[in-house]
Subunit: 223 residues, 2 copies
DNA sequence: GTGCCAATTGTACTTTGGTACAAGGGTAAT
DNA sequence: ATTACCCTTGTACCAAAGTACAATTGGCAC
């Protein structure tokens, strides 16, 4: 009897996902959470879940921070990110941070079911694989940002988690606590991150990394 | 013979603005620049211009940094911000940072002319004054951010400039250089900013302030 | 096995960042 | 003119950030 956690702050969404889960698994035990704290608590008590459906936006968590912390504390539990958006960059980043799948809320129920089965079987799922395979060159303008993206991709998984937490303005001490490592280690990671990204302060790294997420809307934001 | 500087990296835009300037002034001397460095150079040589039309997005400057530096170095020259966007928050921030006007590129030529005359006469111009007078409550959700915006509004002009430069990831030393003040002074401002914004590190201030600009697109970015 | 690399941690050190306190000059309002 | 506020700067001190070097562990590949 597989244990599946559904974490989303919207009851309606949880209901819809629950339906899909019931179609995808045989007599699943469905655990619902409306906030990140509940998820952490649940995972602490049951140790490992067979699958975690995680919404990106929940009370207490705005972006990838929840994913980062869960992946760090409970790496054995496969996480599928649920999101209202399906921006390729978000998808790539979620997968880079250790998610086993990325399911936009607009996905047809049948495809959601298939995706859940796929992930449960050890695979990874992302929307319309083809479009993502080629990152869509987009020759105009933002060459500099693409360079930066390339550099971000040279970061190790743990370093990306650190960068993610950096982006929330946390101190080294707080990051160490969240990832359950020594502050020294955080410093080592930060130092390495700064070198790889070719910047000379955490603030710059945050600003640069922040732009990557913004770029999705750059066409709207010109000017 | 009034000296008017038009700073925009797009030749077509410069042309259109030049037409408007010629309609608004009597035999203006129009100086064109495609990048911020040229503007600074020009201002250094002529001292004060009668009007500066400044595009927000130019090579070397992405946001308000150019405005901030120009206002700091050459406060006597009135600046009108030209932008492809007309988000009320951008408008408010530009004016808060010392711009005498904010003209969206979509503005009809006749209105641009009127706006330029208005500013040259010592007034300030913003698009559809009415809509901006009331900041559009927007009761849903983002109460926390509104709180933060309120706090940003308690910052003094100079402190806003510092915050703006903080947002580019600069070191205190660099900010001191840009604003031509001592590093000690920058520290004093930063310290005050952190208190007013109720955060405990520059990085957090940058993250928070960054969200204000993002919020314009929050409806697209849910998830 | 050997080698490579991610991850971890420690020590020790330098540089930024940030606070606290004090103080002088400028401007605007009462 | 007195108050108030902003901007400025200095000194001094403490905390956080970042670097450099060295070492251990574990996984993975050849």
């Amino acid at each position: 009897m597989p244990q599946i956690i559904i974490a989303d702050d919207h009851p309606m969404v949880r209901g819809a996902l629950a339906l899909a889960v019931e179609s995808a698994f045989d007599q699943p035990e469905i655990l619902e959470c409306a906030h990140l704290a509940g998820v952490m608590q649940l995972l602490e008590s049951i140790g490992v879940a067979d699958l975690l459906l995680l919404d990106l936006r929940m009370p207490g968590v705005d972006g990838f921070e929840g994913l980062v912390r869960i992946r760090s504390q409970f790496p054995a539990t496969p996480v599928v990110v649920i999101s209202a958006l399906e921006d390729p960059r978000l998808v790539r980043e979620a997968l880079a941070l250790g998610a086993m799948g990325f399911i936009p809320k607009s996905t047809p129920r049948a495809e959601i079911v298939a995706a859940l089965v796929l992930v449960a079987a050890g695979g990874t799922y992302r929307p319309d694989d083809l479009a993502l395979a080629e990152p869509a060159p987009d020759p105009k303008g933002r060459a500099a940002d693409d360079d930066f993206l390339q550099r971000v991709l040279t970061l190790t998984p743990q370093q990306r988690r650190v960068l993610q937490l950096l982006g929330t303005g946390k101190l080294n001490k707080e990051i160490a606590y969240d990832l359950d490592i020594a502050e020294t280690t955080v410093k080592a990671h930060v130092s390495s991150i700064l070198h790889k990204l070719r910047v000379y302060s955490r603030t710059q790294a945050v600003v640069m990394a922040g732009r990557l997420h913004l770029d999705s809307f750059a066409d709207v934001a010109e000017g």
